[in-house]
């Protein structure tokens, strides 16, 4: 897997583990990702889920042996619970990756995997890498 970008590294986002070939990212709580006092910032949660979505898509394309350039088209984020001061995880799943466009879902959770704090759906334009 490609190294995480400077933004992810600066926030402390890291590859936590692989789950059936899908990368799970995680980040420890810090003031850098705090929104209102005691809670995670929605933008930081979105950033983490986007990283997880892209990581899942890269993993899928790598499995297929396809070298593609990725360009995000849009993302829809749903916030369902406030994120609190603890370790946060995100994982993406590729719903559909064709030759030109990919649809990737991502989920974000904390201590209870069955109670996600946010969901994201991301659309990415694919083009053959030079």
């Amino acid at each position: 897997m490609n190294a995480l970008p400077p933004y992810a590294q600066a926030l402390g986002i890291e590859l936590d583990h692989d789950e059936d070939g899908l990368p799970v990212l995680s980040v420890d709580f810090s003031e850098r990702i705090q929104g209102r006092p005691g809670f995670l910032h929605g933008g930081a949660i979105s950033g983490l889920m986007e990283m997880a979505a892209i990581a899942a898509l890269r993993a899928e394309l790598e499995r297929r042996g396809e070298a593609m350039k990725l360009k995000p088209v849009n993302v829809q984020v749903e916030f369902m619970r406030g994120g609190t001061e603890q370790r946060t995880y995100a994982m993406g799943t590729v719903t559909r990756a064709g030759r030109r466009v990919a649809l990737v879902n991502a989920e974000c959770w904390q201590d209870d995997r069955s109670k996600p704090i946010a969901l994201a759906q991301m659309k990415v334009l694919l083009s053959p890498a030079e």
Partner: protein, 155 residues
Amino acid sequence: MEEPKSLNDLPPGFVFDPARAAKLMTRHGHGGWLGLTYHAHGPDWVELALPWREELVGVAETGVLASGPIISLMDNATSMSVWTLSTRFVAHATLDLRVDYMRAAVPGRTVIGHGECYKLTRTIAFIRGIAHDGDPDDPVAHVIGTFMATHGTYL
């Protein structure tokens, strides 16, 4: 009066002043780390600025900003536009946010986030906005979303 540490410390009924509040919202936490600053405001809109810096880059080879900082910029600018239209600070949570990426922001350029609240109900605020890197007619991103008042009401 002692300078409040966060918006939650403001007394109830406090008339919302975007320029002053932006200083609080952008000094601590994620907004502070991103380096967000107040840019301008009107009756139902607020603009914040996100200066480019190395740590916020999403693609190391190109220097293009990650999308995360742009979402955070728009979350904060639209959030503040809600309180500006409501004229008071109300504790709320982002319900959803959709971001359409028109193009990559030019490396090195400051991104301006223009957030607008176009409808308030008692408990839901409807927002939209654009992010641009110099020319508002050539945006980097469009956003649309909703907030919900968690304690108290907007109207």
